[in-house]
């Protein structure tokens, strides 16, 4: 469904040096955003494409959707070259970029759906059938008649997903679909993404900073940093490899800043200490037992490693040649 072969993208940036001469004649410097990446995505796969800010995620998605052209390399999406067949490709893909809304804020979502019908040349009867089917599928029959500005964020996000599904796209590109959402809305969006994949067999290419999105939705994860792919792995394997590592936050009933712990500590502040553990190797009861000797524990919580931590860990291993 997606084939990328040795894809590169470089930008020329102007760098202004100090002084009047520097202002008049800025230095031009080439900057590589995407550096020789290759991967394939099969039909019906859900791919998590992750990496820190500036890693090259958005640049890659923009090349896959035809917004910007690659400097070199080959891209095929749904059998088309995005830089040559941008308009044809638009009929085969659906895109959602974070909180950038595709809906008209002052109108009910149904009006945007009718406009999208004209956008994608869908006959009126066929469009009504598709709207009816999707609206029932996602249970938003009444919601689509209310102006979008009056909807809750969760309701709006579901309406957005229906909007990008109207023209039966083969691939969905979702760039940070859960950014800025609370946990309840995140869950709704994640469920909607899984429903779309299951019911329509749609291939999904998702970027997110939220490891929860990747963990709960994706089959496979591709990690990019500095424009290079540093990991391309099945999510279950990655879970086994990294997601068993957690931060454990232990809270005592008194200040423990002066206590010397016989364990590797991530941070220590007033009555709180944070440690990093591999829960597949050590049981929580053992941790509790070890740390009880330093004082009275009033709370303990295990938190998943932030994505940046996992990426940093993978990155340092790659740099170290492991």
């Amino acid at each position: 469904m997606i084939e990328i072969d040795n894809l590169n993208k470089t930008f020329v940036k102007q760098i202004r040096k100090k002084g009047f001469k520097g202002f008049l004649f800025p230095e031009k410097k080439e900057f590589t955003a995407v550096n020789n990446i290759s991967f394939n995505v099969k039909k019906g796969e859900i791919i998590g494409f992750v990496g820190p800010n500036g890693a090259g995620k958005s640049t890659t998605i923009k090349m896959l959707t035809g917004i910007i052209h690659p400097t070199s390399g080959k891209v095929t999406v749904a059998g088309l070259d995005p830089s040559k067949d941008r308009k044809k490709l638009a009929y085969k893909i659906g895109c959602m970029f974070g909180q950038k809304s595709g809906l008209w804020m002052h109108l009910p979502a149904i009006d945007t759906y009718m406009l999208l019908g004209a956008m994608y040349d869908i006959e009126k009867e066929e469009l009504e059938k598709r709207i009816d089917k999707l609206v029932k599928e996602f249970g938003i029959e009444e919601i689509v008649k209310i102006p979008v500005r009056k909807l809750s964020l969760g309701q709006r996000m579901i309406c957005e997903i229906v909007a990008i599904m109207l023209h039966n796209p083969e691939i969905l590109f979702l760039d940070e679909p859960t950014i800025g959402l609370d946990i309840m809305v995140k869950e709704k969006v994640r469920k909607a993404i899984l429903d779309v994949n299951e019911k329509f067999g749609t291939t999904i290419f998702l970027t997110s900073h939220d490891l929860g999105d990747i963990e709960k939705v994706c089959d496979r994860i591709i990690i990019i940093d500095g424009g290079r792919i540093i990991k391309d792995e099945n999510i279950e394997e990655l879970k086994h490899e990294y997601l068993s590592e957690k931060f454990v936050e232990i809270i005592y009933d008194e200040n423990i800043e002066n206590v010397e712990f016989d364990y590797s500590i991530v941070s220590k502040e007033e009555n709180k200490v944070i440690i990093k553990v591999d829960v597949s190797k050590i049981k929580m009861s053992e941790i509790l037992e070890k740390f009880m000797k330093y004082g009275n524990i009033i709370d303990i919580e295990a938190l998943p490693l932030p994505l940046e931590e996992v990426i940093y860990d993978i990155y340092t291993r790659v740099e170290g040649g492991e």
Binding site: I67, I68, G98, S101, M114, M119
Partner: protein
């Protein structure tokens, strides 16, 4: 080709309907903006009525009818360009903020998609005001049809020059003030005064970089006496300004660099 043209037309109409429906969500605001725009335009007419009153209805051969034509064609065309294609005034902002991404992801013609993405509500007042003046000044239905045809041509010229000047943002960055000066202080001003008041130097500008002659003054000459040569000259100039706009817009699409801004359609 024909199917694509039909589909694009269908999309433009649906987009305009969405724009009008969206504006109508705030009916009172829509009505107020329309009325105040008409009052604003009305003050200029009162000014001319007073001037003609003092000068017995004739100033160096210029009559009140000439002024009514002068306030009908440009006001209809300005209103139509900004009401139906309000997105044209956003092109420079879309370029510098990297906001063309949304339109590049859609399969429709980029120009029509961008142009119909927004409507300037206040421009409806211009459109209505110009049409009423056109009805008042017309001696026959044929006169009124002529006004509408020349207004349509002037609308195309207004859209073309607006697109051209706003596309300059791809090289110069922020051109909002430049565009404001060009569109309102030059083009609109030069279309709102009788041709006779301008000297040769200004007329040269009106025939070249600020095409007020083709949009308004030559059509007004034709309202008095039709001349096929002048008519063809207007058509030729319109085609040239459209081609310039098309070329600049194509360059924008080639040179455009995407951004990461977050925005909502209104």
């Amino acid at each position: 080709m024909l199917t694509e043209a039909r589909n694009t037309f269908n999309f433009v109409i649906k987009s305009l309907i969405c724009n009008i429906k969206s504006s109508m969500e705030y009916k009172k605001s829509f009505i107020l903006q329309t009325v105040f725009m008409m009052i604003n335009n009305g003050f200029f007419l009162i000014f001319w009525l007073v001037v003609f009153g003092i000068n017995n209805g004739n100033i160096s051969g210029i009559t009140m009818d000439d002024i009514l034509y002068l306030w009908s064609i440009p006001v209809i065309s300005w209103g139509a360009a900004h009401f139906f294609f309000g997105g044209i005034t956003e092109i420079n902002r879309y370029i510098i903020n990297g906001e063309l991404d949304t339109y590049l992801l859609q399969p429709k013609n980029m120009f029509f998609n961008v142009a119909t993405s927004r409507c300037d509500v206040g421009a409806f007042g211009d459109l209505l005001y110009g049409t009423i003046l056109g009805i008042i000044v017309s001696n026959s239905i044929f006169d009124f049809i002529q006004i509408l045809i020349y207004s349509a041509i002037a609308t195309i010229i207004t859209v073309a020059i607006t697109v051209s000047v706003r596309c300059l943002a791809i090289w110069f960055g922020d051109v909002e003030n430049l565009a404001h000066v060009y569109e309102q202080s030059l083009f609109a001003t030069l279309t709102n005064y009788p041709e006779a008041v301008f000297g040769k130097g200004i007329k040269f500008i009106m025939y070249t970089i600020v095409p007020a002659m083709y949009a308004v003054h030559l059509p007004i000459r034709l309202m008095g006496k039709f001349d096929i040569k002048i008519f063809l000259l207007i058509i030729l100039a319109t085609i040239i300004f459209v081609l310039i706009a098309k070329m600049l817009f194509s360059i924008v699409l080639k040179k455009y660099e995407s951004g990461n801004n977050i925005a909502l359609k209104s």
